[in-house]
Amino acid sequence: MIEFQNLSLVYPNGTEGLKNINVKINEGEFVVIVGLSGAGKSTFIRSINRLVTPTNGALFVEDEDVLQLNGKGLRQLRTKIGMIFQSYNLVKRSTVIKNVISGRLGYTGTLQSILNIFSKEDKLLAYENLKRVNIEEKLYNRADELSGGQQQRVSIARVLTQKPKLILADEPVASLDPPTSHQVMKYLKQINVEDNITTIVNLHFIDMAMEYADRIIGMRAGEVVFDGPVSEVTEKTFEEIYGRSIRDEDRRGGVEDE
């Protein structure tokens, strides 16, 4: 369970990233955060694994206040939180399998990892996860030989190899075309359902949010302006969150190629 308690974040330049957030996210939920760019979606998600440090309040992840963590404690928390990024962030010159197994780094001793020694289980786990996202045949390819969608699937496999309790995805489909976007979202949803991993995704496409989310949190100017199950959400809700009428660019459209 994740709980934001009166959480605020002010950046050094005075910008208010988050304003007094109070949100509770339950285990196994698939939450989509929507909002225009600059609304604080990224700051929200990055506070959870402390890639940014909130300046006020408390944020509990599994009964631990992440604001109090430092050094080893913080690294231990981060091993349990997988994160997926808009630009995939694979090491382009390394092989796919090396990228995926780097998800085990947090569980591996420094010396062992430098010497590239991973247990047999870890290697098999990495391979199994590549299979789950149907990209196991690219095992020994260099990451830069893959297309964008394939790279994002590899990054999902890397996150799974962390055996996370929670997956954060920061605009995971913003650089992909519509069919590939749906494919990536389907994998995320499937993993959420099968492994009961809490998943929090930032999106700005309203149709994708509606299709995949259990619950939608709307943000504007650092504040939560909507929070409710997807069944309560209509186009009107999005207009309220965005503070303007809905345009074509707010929809991803398209369906997955089969």
């Binding site: 231990q76 928390l77 981060r78 997988g82 994160m83 694979l90 382009k92 010159r93 990892s113 890397r158």
Partner: protein
């Protein structure tokens, strides 16, 4: 749509710009005249009969290289290459920590960055031959002095180039590894090294290429290698041997350039 032919708008002319350019031009010409008048070129001695005779006497002997000396010359050429190789290898390693110190995305402290830059800059300011003189004085006239001179001389350039490579890496990858709970050492080996190693290697090979050329003159001050032979042959006015030494250097350097170019193209 108009039928008028398309014309470029007139380039704005500025009097001030013109004046500036004329001043710069005059300054350059003046400096040129000044320097020329100071180095006292004696045209009459360049075109004297004696010069022509000397050229006529020496140059043809360059083109009759002493092939019988090939064995001993090759031996010294190989020593030269060894000096260059050992020196650049040492530099390629020493430059790494200094480069990390200089890279502003690794050490987020302007003061430390500047210290690193000063060290590298100071080292770069010494020509290899001056370093060689210092090390001959320190460790005696042998190839080891040459290795030290090459190693220190190359560290300055490699450190600077390495730090630029480090500053151009994709920092998102680092953030991603951080987010997965990896520690600093693991991030170095899994996030940074794979991104920088091919470029590091490429620059090190390039520097080795330069070092082969640099180390072939170090012998002139007694720091080992083929330069020693050049000094002896020159002092004995043995121009055939000088010719042969030059031939060996030219061929060796060309071959090494070709090989290093080939390897570097395949690296990145």
């Amino acid at each position: 749509m108009s039928n008028q032919p398309l014309t470029l708008p007139k380039k704005p002319k500025s009097k001030l710009k013109l004046v500036k350019r004329v001043i710069v031009l005059i300054a350059i010409v003046l400096i040129y005249i000044w320097t020329f008048s100071n180095i006292s070129i004696r045209w009459e001695s360049i075109f004297s009969v004696r010069t022509l005779e000397n050229i006529d006497r020496i140059i043809p002997r360059f083109f009759q290289p002493a092939f019988e000396e090939t064995g001993s010359i090759m031996e010294m050429m190989i020593e030269t290459i060894f000096i260059a190789y050992t020196g650049s290898l040492a530099a390629a390693v020493i430059a790494v920590p200094l480069a990390f110190l200089c890279a502003s995305n690794m050490v987020r402290n302007k003061f430390l960055n500047n210290i690193g830059m000063w060290i590298l800059g100071a080292v770069r300011a010494f020509p290899e031959i001056v370093l060689a003189i210092i090390f001959v004085a320190a460790v005696g006239p042998n190839p080891f002095a040459g290795v030290l001179a090459i190693a220190i001389g190359s560290t300055g350039m490699l450190g600077k180039l390495y730090s630029e490579v480090i500053e151009s890496i994709d920092m998102n990858v680092i953030e991603t590894l951080e987010a997965s709970g990896a520690n600093k050492m693991q991030i170095l080996f899994y996030g940074i090294m794979p991104q920088v190693l091919p470029e590091f290697l490429s620059y090190a090979i390039y520097r080795f290429e330069i070092d082969v050329r640099a180390s072939s003159v170090l012998g002139i001050v007694g720091a080992g290698g083929i330069g020693t032979l050049i000094t002896f042959a020159y002092m004995n006015r043995n121009w055939e041997e000088v010719g042969m030494i030059l031939l060996v250097i030219i061929i060796t350097v060309t071959i090494i350039d070709q090989i290093s170019g080939f390897i570097r193209k395949r690296l990145v």
